[in-house]
Amino acid sequence: MSAPTTPMPHFDSPPVIETLLGVQFSPLAGFSIAHFGLYWSRVRGTYPVHEIKPPLVPVLEEEQRPVGGPALGLQLVSEPEARCWLIDASATQLVQIQRDRFIRNWRKVRADDRYPRYETLKPLFSKDWGQFVDFLGQEGLAVPEINQCEVTYINHIEVGAGWETFGQVDRVVSLVTTGSQRFLPEPEMLTLEARYPMPEGGRLRVTMQPAIRRQDAKEVLQLTLTARGRPRLPELGASLEWFDLGHGWIVRGFADLTTAAMHKIWRRTP
């Protein structure tokens, strides 16, 4: 089933707590540690907080060969690689940059924070990316050639909202069935990892992990959906198209994977 032919469901109250729109590109020649500071000085009004993190290794979602194995990579570089987080005053918006990445996250911080919706987040990505590319141009650096796009949605399905124990995953995920007619009892725990090839190119990855949320010590099922693939062209317009595709796969995939009972809780329409 191809994603675009399936109606796009809507959830009034989705359990999403973090989203990511990101692009990967060929490492920028001439981009050094100093450029992190120079770029931050341009956007510090919007993103007043910074943190330095280890870099992410390149990830390419090939058509036939899924990305697999341990996510470890060895890179030989001429100066220390780093990733810079730039965080806004509300602590809900994050821009991550490194020599071959530009990523924008939204996260839920307070209990009453509402998911701002993809239609809001995509233009924010475009705006920040535009500022970044302008900065690169002013520094005499090349426009990045995008080779991979990623859309990720992380959902926290909290205990007490449709399920009570980690064994009751069948109440949340439609892939799993349990019951008195079966030999096996209710599982103590169940994790899930699935990969779906996207006919348009790329792959949707789904993981479900029982966990304790650090912020409030609450039991949650963390359901993560990541769509990743190569855009039609190595530039922003094609990447935004790919984001639309990836977002569609994530929302439709989320609806497919979860149960009607949970959809009521999340107020699905149609």
Binding site: E18, V59, Q75, V77, I103, A211, R214, T224
Partner: protein, 161 residues
């Protein structure tokens, strides 16, 4: 030339050591909203009270003690994950209490046997084994000494070892 070795993927989080250790695609992503993955029910019953201790006010003991040190909490989470990784089966729910000075103390009881583990901010962790009312032994516990950890928990619950 500088070699950098790093864990992958495109999302965020500072306290992702535990996630990275699991080496699964979903769990290893560095996530901005932090979680502690769990595999067993007893982990839930150990980690929830541990995380709640971080909300203790300074002077919770009337002796100016701080809440458990963040480094102690991270070490405790890694220790619990390591115990779960041993696959010893269903362990009893531990009692988790704060220690003056920023440490934490775990106590597992199974029948007449007790295993106590204390993790401190500025000293090596230690253990104490008790059977009935008699101390069996005690000493330093290296939190990455898998064989020692396995032996301690195998002693506690021999049926699951």
């Amino acid at each position: 030339m500088i070699a950098t070795l790093s864990a992958s993927s495109m999302t965020t989080d500072a306290a992702a050591l535990h996630e990275v250790a699991s080496a699964e695609e979903g769990a290893r992503r560095e996530q901005w909203n932090a979680i502690v993955p769990v595999r067993t029910r007893w982990e839930v019953e150990a980690i929830r009270p541990l995380l709640k201790l971080t909300a203790l006010p300074t002077d919770w003991d009337g002796d100016a003690s701080p809440p458990p040190d963040p480094g102690v909490v991270e070490a405790a989470i890694r220790f619990l994950a390591a115990v779960a990784e041993l696959g010893l089966g269903r362990l009893p729910q531990p009692h988790v209490v704060p220690l003056s000075g920023g440490g934490v103390h775990f106590e597992w009881a199974a029948g007449a046997r007790q295993l106590q583990v204390a993790i401190f901010p500025d000293a090596p962790a230690d253990f104490l084994r008790v059977e009935g009312r008699a101390v069996v032994d005690q000493g330093v516990l290296l939190l990455t000494a898998w064989e020692q950890i396995r032996a301690l928990f195998a002693w506690l619950t021999p049926a699951t070892a």
